[in-house]
């Protein structure tokens, strides 16, 4: 093996640049694949992992606050209960926003300690509260309020006694007498930031006495957490709840959540990431496969003459094949190892943030399966690409090998193509380059493949990001109706409307009421009635139009699907007070709070009152005048109403940090894939120029200048570059369309409006189409420069 090792080392040294380039392609491909797949696995079933790690609560039950603590504590001894926590008070409060205004109706909990035996709280920063006046914020609310450990936060008693929003909201007790004055406030110190698997809706944990203070003497609810056996199915949990509450009054339970409900919700959101990350993983491995196959076949071909000499000297076929394989797999393995490590490291911030984005404490670092699959796939591709040519080369006779190495391997087709190319009406160096590029159709095809993947990936990344940004804007309706006012009671509607109309910053506003109705085949769903023109409210129209008045309604995709209806069909809508026939005039992109599982009807308030005689305006949506920010409007409204009416800016209720992180990951992966394509072209052109070294020397000898040589070499990739643009852009847009449509369907059974895809200006399409050319030219430039500076005499005399 000494001779084999010696020769192999010498070949690796001689082909240093090529080895480095091959290793680099593998590095980028495996890094991108590892990054994508690691995030993908972290996004897949994140809840189960976090739940198991935190000893999550199978049941979270809220009880009437008047029930004695001892009686509630006794429920922990029910059959099947293996661990419990509580009882402790819970409630709602408003939090002052750093930038002014408030975030309303946030859940607060008086849980006394972070008990690790059940729903172990993950402390992200700081510590648990120890005394009144201290608060631990949930990660999400901390991001929204822009608070850190050590900051002060002002917490207000909420003005409305509501247990939540939407049709499932449990109406709270009426305002107690004497509570129309200033509401209790608490100025607390943030001592910790945490996350809870089982109670992700809790915005803050504080002392029971502080909770009681903020609930302003009204009866509080009390909460208990339970771990039970068995707990695998809803039936198990229903039975467990029955055993737990057997000794209590049936009206004692005011709310509950099961771990299965939470799991469905979290995993559904997680599934959104699947198609994007999977697409990038496939892109990365495909791009690498094309690049690797091209380079490897070229390395083997260029070694034929060497092989002939080796065999003539006495190397066996197996030794020759081994040397070729080692030459290829050594740099490939190095690149793969470094790439997987880099991808693993690069994925960590996103992996941690992804699990946190689901309201879960981080419980995942990497997937051993990913660390196994990615290198196997990458090295598998390299091995498969190298094995065939290496074995064939090993079996060649010395004479045949030397002959194939010294004579051009161009068949009749290649010659005909070159002949045609040489007649093109362009400058000579360009002509020479174009003919060189098309003379090897198979190699050009693989280069084209690598370029198409790069262009498609770049198009996909840009298109997906812009589309997601457009969709987010549509979801937030930030441009049209960014301000929401919630009435403490419907009888305040008239004077609040007067206040809104009287503000100089009001451009448009409309009152909304809500009820629950039933639609044949689709079942129960909310009906939102608008008291006036709401066509400006900002829900994108997918098909049809906004409703014009009574007798018409609009709905999201799932309503049409479930009810088996199309635009223009009528539906018989049943409410508590009667039935109404409505014509469905529009399919809208509707992710409003009111929508449940993609089911909601929007129509006129008049129709809503016919369906539910008790329905009334309970909130307003407002569009400020141009030039007035939503936050300034909110401040003005708060001042006009002396903070007595809840007003919020919709976008303030969520943090964009995780969304932006996802977009940045998508952008980063797009850049990496373009780099892989560039690397693929670089490798191929490097190989081509090495094979054509003699030809280039001859051309320089007869008068081709260095600049002309550079032009010639770069021209060899012009055709594939242009083709890649014209193939890759539509491919990338098609994949983007499919992925975004999947995300809409998975998230909320929604079709995506066409406007979400109409995000690129015409000039951008031209730019993307030319991106293939740009990638090809960038990849070819360095080898072209190298060729331009080759010294003629040593090359020709070496012959």
């Amino acid at each position: 093996m000494g001779a084999v090792a010696t020769k192999t080392r010498a070949d690796l040294r001689r082909r240093r640049l090529q080895s480095v380039a091959l290793a680099l392609v593998l590095f980028l491909a495996t890094a991108a694949a590892t990054l994508s797949l690691n995030i993908l696995v972290a996004s897949h079933e994140p809840f189960e992992r976090a739940f198991a790690a935190a000893n999550g609560a199978h049941l979270v039950i809220a009880y009437d606050g008047t029930i004695d603590d001892a009686r509630l504590a006794a429920t922990a001894h029910a059959a099947g209960v293996t661990a419990s926590a509580g009882p402790y008070p819970i409630g709602e409060a408003d939090f002052e926003h750093l930038k002014g205004g408030r975030v309303f109706g946030q859940s607060i909990s008086g849980r006394p300690q972070a008990d690790a035996s059940i729903d172990a709280i993950t402390m992200i920063a700081g510590r648990w509260w120890q005394r009144p006046g201290e608060v631990v914020l949930d990660r999400s609310i901390a991001a929204v309020l822009e608070k850190q450990v050590g900051d002060r936060v002002t917490v207000y008693s909420t003005p409305q006694a509501s247990g939540g929003k939407g049709p499932d909201a449990v109406p709270g007790p009426p305002e107690a007498p004497g509570t129309t004055g200033p509401r209790p406030t608490l100025s607390a110190t943030v001592v910790g930031i945490a996350g809870s698997v089982s109670t992700p809706d809790v915005a803050a944990w504080l002392s029971p006495s502080d909770v009681t203070l903020l609930m302003a003497g009204r009866p509080t609810a009390k909460e208990m957490l339970y771990r039970v056996e068995p707990a695998a199915t809803q039936a198990d949990l229903v039975a467990a709840k029955a055993r737990i509450t057997a000794a209590l009054d049936p009206r004692a339970v005011t709310g509950q959540t099961t771990w299965l409900d939470l799991r469905t919700s979290v995993n559904k959101t997680a599934d959104l990431y699947v198609p994007v990350l999977l697409a990038f993983s496939i892109f990365a491995l495909l791009a690498a496969a094309f690049a690797i196959a091209n380079v490897i076949s070229g390395i083997v071909l260029s070694s034929y003459r060497d092989i002939g000499v080796m065999k003539a000297v006495g190397f066996t076929p197996r030794q020759v094949s081994t040397m070729l394989l080692v030459q290829i797999l050594a740099p490939a393995t190095l690149g793969t190892a470094l790439g997987v490590a880099a991808g693993l490291v690069a994925s960590q911030p996103t992996v941690v943030s992804t699990t946190e984005a689901f309201g879960l404490p981080p419980a995942f670092a990497f997937s051993p399966l990913v660390l196994l699959v990615v290198p196997l796939a990458a090295l598998g591709v390299a091995s498969v690409a190298a094995l065939g040519p290496a074995i064939r080369a090993g079996r060649l006779s010395p004479v045949e090998a030397m002959t194939r190495g010294t004579m051009p391997a161009v068949g009749g087709l290649a010659r005909r193509l070159r002949g045609l190319g040489f007649r093109l009406p362009v400058a000579l160096p360009v002509r020479l380059g174009l003919t060189a590029g098309i003379a090897h159709p198979a190699r050009s095809g693989m280069t084209l493949g690598a370029l198409v993947v790069g262009v498609a990936a770049a198009t996909f990344a840009i298109g997906t990001n812009l589309s997601l940004l457009r969709i987010k804007t549509d979801i937030d309706r930030g441009a049209t109706a960014p301000v929401r006012v919630e009435l403490p009671s419907p009888d305040r509607a008239a004077d609040v409307a007067t206040t809104i109309a009287g503000l100089s910053g009001t451009a448009r506003f409309v009152g909304l009421g809500q009820g629950t109705v039933s639609v044949p085949l689709a079942g129960s769903m909310p009906f939102v009635g608008y008291d006036g023109d709401a066509s400006w409210i900002g829900f994108p129209i997918i098909h049809g139009r906004w409703f014009a008045g009574p007798g018409e309604a609009v709905a999201p995709t799932n309503v049409f699907r479930q009810a088996g209806k199309q635009i223009g069909d009528t539906i018989q809508v049943q409410g508590d007070s009667g039935a109404v026939t409505l014509t469905l005039v529009g399919e809208i992109f509707d992710t409003g709070d009111e929508s449940r599982d993609g089911l909601v009807l929007r129509g006129s308030l008049a129709d809503l009152r016919r369906l539910d005689a008790t329905a009334a305006v309970d909130r307003f949506e407002i569009q400020p005048v141009a030039g007035t920010s939503a936050r300034d409007y909110r401040t003005a409204f708060s001042e006009a109403t002396q903070d007595a009416i809840a007003v919020s800016v919709i976008s303030d209720l969520s943090s964009d940090a995780d969304f932006l992180l996802f977009l940045s990951v998508v952008a980063f992966l797009g850049v990496v894939l373009v780099a892989i394509s560039i690397g693929g072209v670089f490798n191929t052109v490097l190989l081509e120029t090495r094979q054509r070294w003699r030809e280039l020397a001859i051309l320089k000898a007869i008068g081709l200048t260095p600049l002309q040589v550079l032009v010639q070499v770069v021209s060899s990739v012009l055709v594939v570059g242009l083709l890649a643009g014209f193939i890759g852009v539509p491919l990338g847009l098609l994949i983007e369309r499919g992925v975004i449509a999947y995300m809409g369907e998975t998230a909320a059974h929604l079709a995506i409006p066409e406007s979400a895809f109409d995000v690129l200006l015409p000039v951008a399409y031209v730019g993307l189409a030319l991106s293939g050319l740009a990638i090809a030219v960038v990849g070819a430039f360095l080898p072209a420069r190298r060729a331009a500076s080759l010294r003629v005499a040593p090359v020709l005399q070496a012959e």
Binding site: P408, R415, L432, I702, P706, S789, A793, L796
Partner: protein, 230 residues
């Protein structure tokens, strides 16, 4: 007669080599003659030819070809110089394998500024003169050594160069083809072509050249007129 090619104090040292490939060469070459440069293997003959043709640059000294300071030309300048002033014939022909015979000749003409049609016509004319008209569409791999050398000569003279540089033009040929190639060169010289011929074969030099320059270890060891000059 004024020298067409003039070398003054020309030396060439390759990358820290202890022995210069050429050392202080002073030489004048007349127009219209065949000058042979002979010497043992490694004496610097090909290096001298490369310097005259601008394929390489001297470490020291001046080289003037047809009033052009070749030693001062950059890469672009020397490429342009070679297009019209120099025709090269190599020992191993160095044809472009992916171009046809006619294409090999025409590409040199196109580099010098001819249109594709003009270059093609000129190539066909030359090939006809050299007895290769029937091979115009063939590829170099299918030709014999002698035929390839004739194609190389056609390429070298397509632009009517000031000087034809031939580096061991018969080194890869058998006796018959070698004589045929030499006869071709002689015929070109009769029509006024200046030729600088490198060979290790002194007898060949005696037969073909007007003047023989002898190099040993990079230095001029002899300079005399040959029988062809008589």
């Amino acid at each position: 007669m004024a020298a067409l090619i003039s070398l003054r104090g020309v030396s060439k040292i390759y990358d820290r080599a202890t022995q210069p490939a050429l050392d202080g060469i002073d030489l004048d070459i007349e127009a219209g003659k065949i000058t042979a440069i002979i010497g043992p293997s490694g004496c610097g003959k090909s290096t001298l030819l490369n310097l005259i043709g601008g394929l390489d640059r001297p470490t020291r000294g001046e080289i003037v070809v047809d009033d052009v300071r070749v030693d001062r030309l950059d890469e672009t300048g020397s490429a342009r110089f070679r297009r019209s002033a120099v025709g090269y014939v190599f020992q191993f022909f160095h044809l472009l394998d992916d171009l046809s015979v006619a294409g090999n000749v025409a590409v040199a003409a196109q580099l010098a500024g001819s249109s594709p049609a003009e270059a093609d016509a000129r190539a066909q004319e030359l090939l006809g003169q050299l007895g290769l008209a029937a091979k115009a569409g063939a590829y170099p791999a299918t030709l014999s050594g002698g035929e390839r050398q004739r194609v190389a000569i056609a390429r070298a003279i397509v632009n009517r160069p000031t000087v034809l540089l031939a580096d061991e033009p018969t080194g890869a040929l058998d006796r018959r083809n070698g004589d045929s190639a030499l006869a071709l060169l002689e015929d070109l010289n009769r029509h006024g072509q200046t030729i600088v011929l490198v060979t290790h074969d002194e007898a060949l030099a005696e037969r073909q050249a007007h003047r023989i320059v002898h190099l040993v270890d990079g230095r001029l060891a002899g300079d005399r007129f040959a029988r062809a000059a008589a």
